[in-house]
Subunit: 368 residues, 2 copies
């Protein structure tokens, strides 16, 4: 085999006796997409047809099929990687995408995080503890109301104050007005406090729209952005990431459910395409990911992998100040703890509750 | 309620006694994303919080929950519509998106197909019968090999010859070289035959890349394009569609599996965002969609809906010449029949097999 290959593990939900056959059909579906016996050219069968490396029956009755895809079919395009990994077989309910590995050449082409964990620490000036993060809610608020929240959160010392992922260009709080108001408040507080809280606006629309949004954000001194790669398309995400290596990209998992295992999507792929931090639905909140799934996501985000910078894990989705000690033990210092709605429930005591969050994260482990 | 609303039906996989509660949580998740009791402002609870309209237990033990989302949260952005419909709850395995309706204002903002079924008939000159379509395979072929296939298919009289959805900018068949070679052959044949076969190249990458690809395609006289909205992002798709109202956009379902019901995604949403034709995995082929699901997709594509042009259904995924009479009876004249790999299996008899396809489609119903 002349060219490097992409390793993919799929879980097949078929009878054990059918698994080897199903794996071969899958290899065809995700590469040449026509009967191999009708392909005349040996090179295509040797080099382009996906190869079934192993078929391993599992105790739960499913089968893991390890395939190798030809890099030449992906041609260093992020959308095309998704297409070859899971384009057609996403429509086949007996297939899940479980894991993926790429050759060094492809890792280096996509580039991974430009900042990663260390870069986020440099931007925020936070060393040796988890970062704190919160979200601006609810939709329907005015830019001024959100800016007021920004002031409170920044005064409490929260490191990253991000738009809720539902913010786009709503008429009650248009992007331009919102980011100016929010960043203005955060900057004012930073100047007084000497801290470096970051406001991260949510990008929406197409690549061109996002380029304009990033331009506006830059002109205000904004250094972090929220983006949902599965909504805008991973090619758009990867292109923006590479155009703006000095900005922090926080990836949101919206629309990321389905049959790509969360560690493969939110761990490996989002990291590969350049997420400096990735939000994931932590166990024990409003979502149902298991503890093991969450730990697998985090392992994929932080493990040594083709020289790519590690991505900062952001457990989220119904977290609370009370869970901070547990979250710190579980995810360690190289993580960002996101508490959103549960702070806002404090109403008039929002500042106090936000400070309690910050203090709980800053408290040393012994005291926690 | 002051502003128009988006009607969404979700299927909840929860115990019947929990369904009403789960529907309320879902309404929160897909709108304000914080506890309603912590929202001070009445307007937000009245107008922005999604509303649970009905909760209907089903015979199969699931529950249909009908919700209304506020248009103001979507702000006429296609990606943001996906985000509000299914962003976070895509991560909650007990929820499926079953159906969606939008107000006239939103339908008109996204615009739907610019050409639709009538426009595709005008471009191809085909009246009163289904269109024929095939795909250029396999990946790994050279541009010259694909151009040779184009000649054979065009000589046989196939109406639309599209790139396989796996074509991007592979080094063995770069986009620029491929589309020039393929379009060149199709044009040559058209000039001789007097027919109007269309070559439809596959778009890849980001909005900017796709704009360049469309520019190249236009300069060659290409009038149809293949695009995978779930790979590139629906906002990109809708933006390109609106920029190029004279070109036919054929949407591919790649990466469209998951928990959005196929009629909602491939029927309503792809039509709403502007697909002139939508390929779907027909029953009885390599995919497992049921007959009822396929008929629901087609109904959503062609039914009267907010004045949007109907989208042409393209049943595909393992079809054969032998099934043409059945497909014609099933989907009627306003459809496009796509046969890919099963033609190529004919090898040296590809021309003959392609003509048999064209003749089977042209045959009048009595004879079929």
């Amino acid at each position: 085999m002349s060219s490097p290959r992409i390793d993919v593990t799929y879980r097949l939900h078929v009878a054990a006796g059918q698994a080897a056959h199903r794996a071969r059909l899958l290899a065809v579906e995700q590469s040449i997409e026509m009967p191999p016996e009708a392909v005349g050219e040996a090179r295509l069968l040797d080099e382009v047809l996906a190869r079934v490396e192993r078929v391993e029956p599992q105790a739960d009755g499913t089968t893991l099929a390890r395939l190798q895809l030809a890099c030449e079919t992906v041609c260093e395009d992020a959308g095309q990687l998704m297409n070859m990994l899971f384009g057609n077989c996403s429509l086949q309910p007996d297939v899940e995408l479980v894991d993926i590995d790429v050759p060094d050449s492809l890792a280096s082409a996509f580039g991974g995080p430009a900042l990663g964990i260390d870069g986020l620490r440099r931007l925020t000036g936070v060393t040796a503890r988890p970062l704190t993060c919160t979200a601006l809610k609810p939709l329907g608020s005015t830019a001024q109301q959100l800016a007021g929240l920004c002031r409170t959160f920044a005064e409490a010392g929260i490191d990253i104050i991000k738009d809720d992922h539902g913010w786009a260009n709503q008429s009650g709080s248009p992007f331009t007005e919102r980011i100016a108001a929010c960043q203005g408040q955060v900057q004012q507080v930073n100047e007084k406090s000497g801290r470096r809280s970051l406001y991260a606006p949510s990008l929406y629309g197409t690549q061109l729209q996002m380029q304009r949004q990033i331009g506006e954000a830059r002109s205000l001194g904004i250094q972090a952005l929220l983006i949902a790669p599965m909504v805008c398309g991973v090619a758009t995400f990867n292109a923006l990431r590479r155009e703006h290596p000095d900005l922090a990209f926080i990836a949101h998992p919206a629309l990321g459910g389905g049959r790509i295992a969360p560690p493969a999507l939110l761990g490996r792929l989002f990291r590969l395409f350049g997420a400096d931090a990735v939000i994931f639905p932590n166990h024990g909140g409003r979502f149902t990911y298991s503890t093991a799934t969450c730990h697998d996501i985090v392992r994929c985000q932080r493990a040594t992998w083709h020289g790519l910078r590690p991505t900062m894990p952001v457990p989220a989705g119904g977290m609370s100040v009370e869970r901070v000690p547990e979250l710190k033990r579980e995810y360690g210092a190289d993580s960002m703890l996101l508490i959103g709605g549960s702070l806002l429930v404090a109403g008039e005591r929002l500042g106090e509750r936000s400070r309690a969050f910050v203090e709980a994260v800053a408290a040393d482990e012994e005291a926690a």
